[in-house]
Symmetry: C2
Subunit: 275 residues, 2 copies
């Protein structure tokens, strides 16, 4: 059986670096589409274009216009090949309009691991979360939330209650949201799904009493290792809201306690609801 996630990622080569894809309504959040999933969709097509460089080491993306469910094209333009990395421009286009303009530097993490192990070290503690069964399950979200956030039907999210007071109307003000996460159908994490993982939690602004859609302006993600099977642990945190903009840092840890992905995004603070 092909997992739903992989069906959603499907890309059909259309020649000259172009791939036909379908933006699935199943990854909608309100009127928009989850940006992390769209990056996975783009990078999955890029891997077809650059098979010797399967790992998206650094993906930087500027969000130019709002994607909608339906047909789209991923357009890959390789900028440099050879040596230990390759760099490509990768765009998501709908009806002639660029939705996302990304640049991706990719490589082969196995080759990097083989040469780099002497200097390997971690200066961070693995993300500590309460046991999964003590966390708030996305499956238990109210029906109206599930209807608005269609992507909640694509995965299992288990939020740390210490940063989820907003769910009961009492945001903690910590500027942190953290969670266990795994895809449906037992689909194990890989370097492609890590790009979904870095943008899949509710924005940290929820815990600051500012609910609502927080449109991403720019997101850069680094994939640091191929993730081990099992649950991922994800942490979002912010340091500053200024001028209606905030940054959101993300760490993703795998079941082997490795820091497998890092990202930062600049986003717009949700506007207050009209009262």
């Amino acid at each position: 059986m092909i997992a739903e996630y992989d069906r959603h990622l499907a890309a059909t080569p259309a020649g000259e670096g172009r791939y036909d894809v379908e933006v699935p309504a199943g990854w909608a959040v309100g009127g928009g589409i989850n940006g992390g999933f769209l990056l996975s969709l783009m990078v999955n097509a890029l891997r077809d274009a650059l098979p010797a460089m399967p790992d998206p080491l650094a993906t930087s993306a500027h969000f130019l216009s709002a994607s909608v469910p339906g047909p789209a094209q991923v357009v890959v333009g390789v900028r440099r090949e050879g040596g230990s990395v390759a760099t490509a421009d990768v765009e998501l286009v709908q009806g002639g309009v660029t939705r996302i303009a990304a640049t991706v530097t990719c490589g082969d993490l196995d080759r990097f691991a083989a040469r780099g192990s002497a200097s390997d070290r971690s200066l961070a503690e693995p993300l500590a979360l309460p046991p999964i069964e003590e966390c708030f399950a996305s499956a238990d979200a109210p029906d109206e939330v599930k209807a608005f956030v269609a992507m909640l039907g694509r995965f299992d999210l288990r939020l740390d209650p210490a940063h989820a007071g907003w769910g009961g109307g009492t945001p903690g003000g910590t500027g942190v949201v953290q969670s266990w996460w795994r895809l449906d159908d037992g689909r194990e994490p890989d370097v492609v799904s890590l790009l979904t993982a870095v943008d899949v939690l509710p924005p940290v602004t929820f815990d600051l009493g500012l609910p609502g859609w927080a449109p991403t302006i720019e997101l850069t993600a680094y994939v640091r290792a191929r993730p081990a099977p099992g649950w991922l642990r994800i942490r979002h945190a912010t340091k500053q809201l200024a001028g209606g903009l905030f940054e959101e840092d993300c760490e993703v840890w795998d079941s082997a306690d490795r820091l497998v992905a890092q990202s930062r995004q600049l986003a717009l603070v949700p506007r207050p609801m009209p009262s």
Copy 2:
């Protein structure tokens, strides 16, 4: 008097989004040129092309080949204009070869500040450094270091001794480097020089006993506010070295205790010296 830094940033419009610039030998680090300065050079030209959007909110850059001192062109391609932000591809080219491929989303921070103040808040403590006179001054670096790192003649750097043990051969292993910093000639910081600031300290690998040049693969910087006059405080930190790659996070604080810039870069761990 025009400050040396501004003379080094000079860009001459050459039509169709092209600007003639000169990569100054004065910003060399060994055989390379400081990447942050090159981003300032690129963004300074971009500001001429998009005068209504003077602030580089998000700059993401992939470093494709090594820049050398001498003539270069900055090539600006505007991707989207209108609304509160604009996005442009900005490249640094020498002899027909792209050195740096960047995408910049810019806007006007005054307009953002005017609409966003209700939600403004900081969740981070301003960077605390020892008094300037207790820090290690770049002016006191050994002559052979100054000869190798030409850019040390462009500014005044005052390293926190708590993370500068490597200077005396005893790296602290903290994965942190932090410093006061200001440009020569009393040239005050602005949004352009912040892009220099995020890459101007020695790499955090120095404090991990891994001295040497750490080539940047990708760097993304967010400018969060226009800096107040005076010294900047800069902190670099890393969480992980894996497969010969490390990430370096940067915060820049201004004299008014505001977090004015953030960046993260993915770089290659310096290779051990042959023994």
